[in-house]
Symmetry: D2
């Protein structure tokens, strides 16, 4: 279950404090120009430590392409991308070996597997998303050749929707030793009609699954989303003209298939669970205790989640594009 | 893409006005007591025509089990369930052959496949969900043997959250020749810890994909969902005690894996796209026109969507349960 | 595991003596002309009871298309095909409820599932292949539009390779109350280059898996097959000229990918396990006994296996063709 | 299509002369003791250059585990294993950029993908099997904990079945500048009943697909295999006694499910296609020419194929074991 996609498949691996993380992309079309410089800028956008509101950890996240690219072009063979870890100090985490951090996956992993790498969250760490971003960068390269682009913006931080106040909310949380959540909007422009398959392969179903698979995401809405629940059908339906639909309440998808309009969605992102405010918790053996989580943690993960969400959308779209084209010899 | 699930796989087939719809379930555990009477009551809950606020169509939806059950027990072999159509009058739809109904999948299907069964929406009709309900009924039978139950309730109709006013909102829409949407909450009780797999197999990701795959669903939130975006981390995190977590903002899932608490989620359901109010639209050839959709259509699909959402959640949970147990020989 | 294929997926269901068997085909391209008359002739080729050397059972095997076809063309939606059973007399099999027939799946199914439909072999009966043939007929229809055809011939019966003696060998076995095996050659003509994917998706790997998945098949060889083991590399390699390869020891596949030459393979088919000669066996509880299997059984399954093998090859090829075309937007 | 398995999934990557090859194993059970020393001995068995009859290339094939193992035990998370390349001299292959080597995948890859890494066969090189062996070593470690073991032996070289003559046959070919094929027998001992699923998930189907997916394999037979075609049913059927079957013509599998007897199979392996004897061939542009392939090539790949075949069988068996156990909560 560490593989995403049907035809453009990304398999990620690696733990927060292991020697490396990475991804193997299987099913990338051949002939796509690709090198490390296509990937690195997106890695930078995901990287922590770039401002007062983010974590000061200094990961380099240098990518190395190990396979699947020959003389600057993809070959259709699996593309393995490796990101070596640097500077991980696992002794920082020794005290967390047997404690259950509230809001984290510590106990669910321990219960399920009977063993876990507790250092920095191990596999459940946000660090895993670096591998997704590497895969997403390759997907975006393919999409770009077909005229598709993906962007996002923060629409809310801690209940506040005025962008001028976002940093203030985050800094306030940081000073409290606390964290805050927020909302993102993600938009794909230039999508052709015909992406998505009926019933269980709907494009919106794939998007929702992809987005909710990002650790911090707790809600997904497409097009009008939850506002749809308060609308009349005659309002919601997008009137059609020869020139196209007059509105886009559907968010670019009807019956699970893209209609050529921009695809847009919004995500609810929970506050980072690591806070230094004292919290009541238990040890793995059930002993009750109070925990204060020290260390370098983002007070708000929303800015860094942007590129991850964009990359997951890119992975959904390239997969849907290849799925659509399977019928190209017949349609 | 008409198959749902990894180990408990349901493949549905059939069009609204074809001779039959149905489902093949592959991977159901053997030894489960099962007969048609286990399935029929859920079919009745999904069936239209049971009150003034629903469509007066009279489908019988009688299920027939064709395989996979021997002497009242499942055998582990594929369970095929057939639902013959009755009383479909496809001539009602002849006028819709070349028109694009706003809010429907008419044009996206036509563009993608170059052909479609236009009668009653064909494959994109809500009628397809009858096959999902049949599959979900089998999933629920399995879950019940493990102490899991699923329920749901309507939390909002057309922006109104007082249940006493739901029928009034629906009737008001019906009188206008219009339709309304609403919200559902779905809850699974009795879920054991350990359901869900890391990264792309997260239980919440599977739930979100399953729910957004229901035609009318435009938003999904799990646990605190969108409200998470306005909370501090110290509020959101569920404090842990020996007796369990004090709250359940996580909705029963941490790190993508169930923690033994109730799993709950909310869905946004759009208003039924078929309304008799005149709408501007185009024909498949682009000619602009006005359409008034007559016929038997639910002014609000929310009540009938309840059982579909419950069944999809059942399909996610039984699949996750079998996935968890694959390691049973080792853990 | 009752689904075959990645993009053109056939899911079969049904037991020998249940009310029906059938198949759901998901991923068939749209726009393919199709009706029952395209399928029925292949069903007839598989049907028993057509000569002195086959079983006198009289199954009608009338197919009914339930979905996925509209006005004589496929729509890209799942195609469900139903074959109702007729004349099954399950009381014939009551005596076999607790006995283990040598060479049959009786005990392996019972051990694995704890329950089985023992009537006529239940799910492990050769009758299940009727559903595969229905699916294969649809695949062949698609392949035919692309100029591909599939044929087969019997190359050996009971160690004898002179076709004039095949019937005599079979009749001799029948008179003994025994059965015999044989070999088939299956050939696909008109295959374009590019079918098959590297490493685990090799076309020959898919073919071998498909063929060995036919109950009676115990060996598969492609191109020169086992004879390759006795050849020098300089003999085996097919010399290449501008006009194409001078020989075809590779059987039309190099590196797992078709090269445009005819694809050919040979199958070893074991003798039918049901023989009326007394055999030593045990009951499910371990009691030793002697069994004489009476009833209508083919003394040699090889002639009927031809159409099944052809259909499985068709399913492999159409799947590989759709897989190849997924890159059509890029290559 | 570079992933093998359903629940224990191995995804390989890498080209012959790229910077590294490797594998990501997803779905390995947690709690398995594992380190590099468990894998390295199998890598040594696959490695060339160990005797007068093998290629003198000196690859070190040092494995590095990058993830999924914590404090000496698997965690259930993806296990990435990396093998850095050393000493590849790609200038050796510059002359082969545009020529099509007979018996190789050069032209099929070029036609399908429009681009290929021609150095040493690129992705189609036998070097890729090193990654499979690494994955197989992990599978064997799991199987060993359940009492299963896998072994193999060479049964034929160049048509000769006396082991005393194998080396002589290989050396004779080497002196000619030629190559020879042969046959292997592979045996799994200690397999429990219940491995394999009906119809398309048969254990023998999975084995055949896995084996034919090894580049040099051109034939697979299970149990009596092709000899079955010459037997009477009364001979072939294994008589059953309380103590078990008296014979094992079935090769340990009945109806696609293991019966607890040893599983055995035989493989036909073609002669290495790289021979220094002059061969007629064409360039990619169709120009006819003669080629003499110099360099370090095994005159017979059969000895090195043993460990690859054993590893592929291990991958099939561990996958089937996890598939069987999915029902453990119910059966």
């Amino acid at each position: 279950m560490n593989t995403f996609g049907h035809l453009f498949r990304a398999t990620t691996f690696g733990e927060s404090h292991g020697p490396a993380i990475g991804v193997v992309i299987d099913g990338c079309p051949p002939g796509i120009p690709l090198n490390e410089a296509d990937i690195q800028p997106l890695m930078e956008r995901r990287r922590p430590g770039r401002g007062p509101t983010t974590s000061p950890r200094n990961e380099l996240d240098q990518v190395e392409i190990l396979s699947g690219v020959f003389e600057g072009q993809t070959t259709g063979m699996p593309i393995a991308i490796l990101i070596r870890s640097t500077g991980a100090e696992s002794r920082d985490y020794e005290s967390l070996r047997s404690v259950v951090r509230p809001g984290h996956a510590d106990r669910t992993y321990q219960q399920k597997y009977g063993i876990r790498d507790h250092r920095g969250g191990g596999r459940s760490s946000g660090r895993e998303t670096a591998a997704r971003v590497a895969a997403g960068a390759v997907a975006m390269k393919c999409l770009g050749l077909k005229g598709m682009t993906i962007r996002s913006r923060i629409t809310e931080v801690h209940g506040v929707s005025d962008p001028a106040l976002f940093d203030a909310e985050i800094l306030k949380a940081k000073e409290r030793g606390d964290s805050v959540g927020g909302c993102l909007e993600v938009i794909a422009d230039g999508c052709p009609p015909g992406l998505g398959d009926p019933v269980f392969g709907k494009l919106d179903a794939a998007i929702a699954g992809a987005m909710m698979g990002i650790g911090a995401v707790k809600g997904v809405e497409i097009g009008e989303g939850f506002a749809s629940a308060g609308m009349y059908g005659s309002e919601w339906n997008d009137p059609l003209f020869r020139s196209g639909p007059a509105t886009n309440h559907a968010g670019g998808i009807l019956g699970g298939i893209s209609n050529g309009e921009p695809i847009y969605l919004r995500l609810a992102i929970k506050p980072t669970p690591s806070v230094s405010i004292p919290q009541e918790t238990v040890d793995l053996d059930g002993t009750e205790r109070v925990i204060e989580i020290k260390g370098r943690h983002d007070p708000c993960i929303v800015p860094r989640a942007q590129v991850v969400a964009e990359c997951m959308l890119a992975l959904v779209l390239i997969d849907a594009l290849l799925m659509r084209d399977r019928f190209s010899g017949f349609v």
